[in-house]
Amino acid sequence: MKFLHTLTKGGLLAALLLLSGFAMAQRTVTGTVTDAETGDALIGASVSVVGTTRGAATDINGAYRIEVPAGSTQIRFAYTGYAEQVITLGASNTVDVSMKSSSVLDEVVVIGYGAVKKSDATGAVSSVTEKNFNRNAVAPEQLIQGRAAGVVVTNNSGEPGAGINIRIRGTSSVYGSNNPLFVVDGVPLGGGETSGGTDVRGLGRQTVRNPLNFLNPNDIASIDILKDASATAIYGSRGANGVVIITTKSGQSGKGVLEYGYTLGIGQLANKYDLLDARTFLAEWQKLNPGANPSEVNYGGDTDWQEEITQTAMSHSHNLSFGAGGQNGDYRFSLGYLDQDGLILESGIRRLSGRFNGSKKFWDDRLKISTNVTISQTRDFGAPITENVGYEGDAWANALKGNPTWPTRTADGKVFQSGLVGEPSPLAMIELSEDRTNGLRALGNMNAELEITKNLTFKTVLGGDRSISSRKSAYSRDLVAGNAIGGKGRLNVVDVEYGSKLWENYFTYTKTFGSVDFTGLLGYSYQQFEYAGKTNAYSKFSTSELELMINNTATAGVSAIVNSYRSVDELQSYFGRVNFGIKDKYLLTATVRADGSTRFGGDNKYGYFPSAAFKWRITNEEFCPDLFSDLGLRLGYGVTGNQEIGHNLYLSRQRFSDGGIDDGGNAFTGSQGNVAFENPGLKWETTAQINVGLDWGFWNSRLSGSIDYYKKNTTDMLVRVLAAQPAPNEFVWENLDADIENTGVELSLNLAAIDKEKFDWRILGNVAFNSNKVKKFASFLNTGEINGQGLTGAYAQRIAQDQSLFAYFVRDFAGYDSEGIAQYANGLDAQVFVDKSPLPKMTLGITNQFQFGNLDVSIFFTGQYGHYIYNNTANALFTAGALGAGRNVTADVPGSGESRNNAPDVSTRFLEKGDFMRLQDLTIGYNLPLKSKNISGLRIFVSGQNLMLFTDYSGLDPEVNVNKALNGIPSAGIDYNAYPRARNISIGANVTF
């Protein structure tokens, strides 16, 4: 309420009105903007008066008209894909400009509360624009996977809408989210989940959805990634993991454009496990069970369960947009619809999204009001695939371990079930369960930018974000699986609400003093985050009908209120930045942000995050050889923070713990308990980062690129550690006296290999090396929970001094003895560090773009190297003991020498190299030459994703990260029944009117 109160104090509007009267003497400049090579008019090119915020855009004929205030002498012309030009005005009021296709250098990068030319950027920033986005993305993160050096995007699984991990320059934090801060059109998003996970007893946790699914990738114009601390410090306490700034498309072109695009996608299982067929299975089972009657495990069928529960995943994507841009305003409206099936039967995602972006200028273009609004509805249909299921297995595990002699259906057409609690039929799990998540999210902002004087502008931004999600997860009582479901049925309903409000104000002052260009920024920001939710559980249903269970919950004999919660956090910040450009050679940037947060108590409510950076544009020195079209050296240092921990963990407070329903179907209630210790000393995690970078361009920028070295040191690590007992809780949040160090080198290259009018070949490459180490940590934390039969309590990772984060800590497997019992170098129950890490040491991406007249081809490879994957799937399922007990296994299990009585303990036996190279994207597009008056462009394309995968990993895909957190400590790089990934072919067309 304070927020609204302050807003309505009323002064703002009055002040704006006051300022409207200052018109000054000015001149009007007109002209046309054309392409230097073809002479074609450039529509929608941006024209602005240097040193002011005045701007205009060219119309359909490439013509513009702009008012130039007295005292201004320069006009800047910019157009995406063309080199920016600044023209100094002479006497003439007509300025015609012909623009040349640009190299990367002249692109503008968004840096938070502003934008700079890439060549002026002092920090390490990667910018990916629409042209280089990955195709067929469901979520925005997928657009940039492999496209930016040092930005590792990992799809947790192949499930549509599944969570995505994004790590910028390594993993710098144990806890909290290591994901970067996302800023969408100026509105920073909250770091929490916006949909619920559910946990059905016995069948494990079902994953939460990617909170960014609500953004339609087709609405995104560019994604800028701020990597080093000198760039991210402007976001202070949220900057330590990098900042991803998403800018959505705005209206362009004077005439107005109507666009429609349709894509049809066809996905198929990219890779299958080589499992035993029914006949081999029976024969091999018999070998392990001499004297037994094979009819005991022979149900007479011959089923390939991987085929039976998967489907050809069709996807349809429609995108319609129209918009226009002009001298004093622009707008764009878009509507998107996505209907994507998952590979597993009955799973998929549907999204309907709408967006409006618009701006309008008033008062002789001195006031610009803009708005960006999106509203989106997502419906997720989940498969019963979970992260930590035990011996019963989830739907995918049962497709792998399910007895191949099971038929799919009984004679009367019902789905077949073996009747064994621990051996559910995968098809029954799918057909006798339902998992739906409906989410509605709206994100928008309205901002006003006022030019107070020609040097000084003021911008105010009001932002809002609201999300409502409801997940219903039902298992029919007919399903024989686990003790909690059979005969009882189970329904969990999880509702999650998220909201955030933002108010930001900042002044920008730009002035040239002699040979010094100065820009100063001073601002204030307030953001409030609200998370709320509730969970109910139901059991002992009198019906087997899933729809009735969900929509008529009174059919449940037992219901339990699990719990509800609500928390509100506030973040209040003051920030400033100064940029000096001296003789266009020396660029200096300094920023500071003070963040105050309700997440921290006592003396540490406010944290201060300074940074400084310097760039020397050597190209502009006399001595620089002409060979270089660009040469710049960057040096930056900054301090950023991480505040992603739970709400108010510093004041002693109590609430009732969760109730629920136990395996027997009995409801139990929660009881009053402690939330946290009194812990006033709790404070930010702090990351200091130094960055040295070199940007270069040769031969008129035909070969350009940059190389960066960085070293990040995270201190005051926020970790949930075991409390010194006796204590209110088992765990307590502390700032550990331990460091995490990330060092690395990033290289990106951009080569115009052939640059002819009819044939153009460009190569874009990036490679990044990262090394991660934990220092000064006196204790240890176990994580990487390993699940499966006989694996309760097992774990595979430990965080400890002088190891990388999440380093593997396992038994050292030394083969089998003569009896087929596993031997371990350090003894049966001794786990040790084996000098292997799940964090990639090297990541790379290579794009080849060809253009032959109207035909274009783009080929994109991406890879990760130097890391290891723990194959929990094989550990849990593919062992002699599993085969002996009547479960299916991969073809390499018989004859491996393992005894059926061997216990497959966690060991290096299941630790595998995760190196891979993937042909991620191949797109062939053709722009039809049209002579139509009504259609200005028609592009058709065919594109394939995940076409080839080069890896030695024995699982389905080494790009995997199933959440195997233990006691809340996250894990990395563990594969456990991960939802399989598709090979996808899509065809589509975009038409522009």
Binding site: G422, A794, I821
Partner: protein
Amino acid sequence: MKNSKFFYLLPLFVLGMLAFQACTDLEVEETDSVFTPVTGNTFAGNATNLLAAAYNDLNSVSDQANIYSLYEHTSDEMIPPTRGTDWGDNGIWRTLHAHTWDASHAYVLSSWNQLNSRVFRCNQVLASTSPAPTAQETAEAKFLRAYYMYQVMDLWGKVPFRNVNEGVDVNPRVLTRAEAFAFIEQDLLDALPALPVTGPGGDVTKASRAACNTLLARLYLNKAVYTAANPAGPYNFDPADMDKVIAACDAVIADGFTLEPDYFNNFLTGATNELIFTCNGNGGSPQNRVHMTLHYDNNPSGWNGFTTLADFYNKFEDGDQRKGKPAKRDSTRFSGLAFGFLVGQQYDDSNRVIINSRNGLPLEFTPDVPLTGANTAQGIRVLKYHPEELNGNVDDTEYTKYILFRLGDVITMKAEAQLRKGATGDAEATIDALRTVRGVGTLAPLTLEKMLDERGREMYWEGVRRIDQIRFGTWTSTWSNKTSTDPTRVLFPIPQQALDSNPNLRQNDGY
């Protein structure tokens, strides 16, 4: 010109004031929890709610892991065989049985955390102010604190302690075993007069005078262990302490408890005669006791886990009620299951031979079982909480509560105390009276060895075997698949992470 400058500055000033005015003082507000500040040695908690929570905490002992596993798998009456791919569980079970656990054992850690944090929550009940505990609530909280602290003292031999006003920066002080003994004794003696007298059929899910006396009897019976110079002995049992045991046991009996004529009725719904103190069933029931031992192909389907050892099974004579009761096999639900020890060929509810789905052979439980490499049928299963009524006629919510204290325990403790103070005749009379009800004859002449065996027969799988074996000095002997005779194993190690978190703690000898 002056004026225009002024006009620039005024709105700037106004804007600046507005733009940078703080929206918030960052004072956090809570709507889903209550602040419970600590002032002095008081705590703004709700004593009634917190006491209810302390009772709920008892339910977790029905879990097959954690605290229960430390008391049972380490003893000679239970073994957790690794069966091929099953029950390896990172060695967590077999290291308990073989006495090869170390300071990183997960259940040693989780039990340490559970028990100690419960002690702290009892401190919070006692220090609560809104409302403060009544005299009876204070007594109940002291009893529960003693119950939890007793286990910390028993398992680790030292007890860390934190007052409610000692915050996150304070390292808890550490009580020696003898200090902890005195602390626990004082809590129980303080509690005793203010606790209600609850006889059979009363609300035995709440602390009562009988429950308090039972714990006092256990405390005094083991005093020699807890106050010994060397935790591994020798132990000197003071006759005065034995008199205290006898007095406490007599006080329990005087509250009206009687032996159940049918031993296994104790573990069914509706039992009252012997039950002194039970869990309240809110979040825990004896279900795990059923699943943890039964084979997959039994009905109900189990997890095919724990069994007893052949040597232990052989301590029972035929005719002993406690050895078991045959299955009815009358086609009613779960009637295929016998009571007590499940040995030999298994049948389903309709009297058909069960085939082991894991190897296609008839399912026959055999007495001998190795610790590793066992097959799925090896080992005698133990079923005290028979699921006869689970999912049957009676609603699940009425499923019997997990038993913490039972009269059979009290009577055997009394006999042992009589024996230890030299009143062998009294001891024989006490124990024979119990044995008569259980359907077996006299144990005279009674010896300590026979006494331990009798404790085993009465109390098997009820969580006291570790304590008994240590007190009787058989803990360091060997048994099937347990060759270690290391005397330092009478105590568990302080978990490594607990040592890291509190510099006042010192590791126990031998680790």
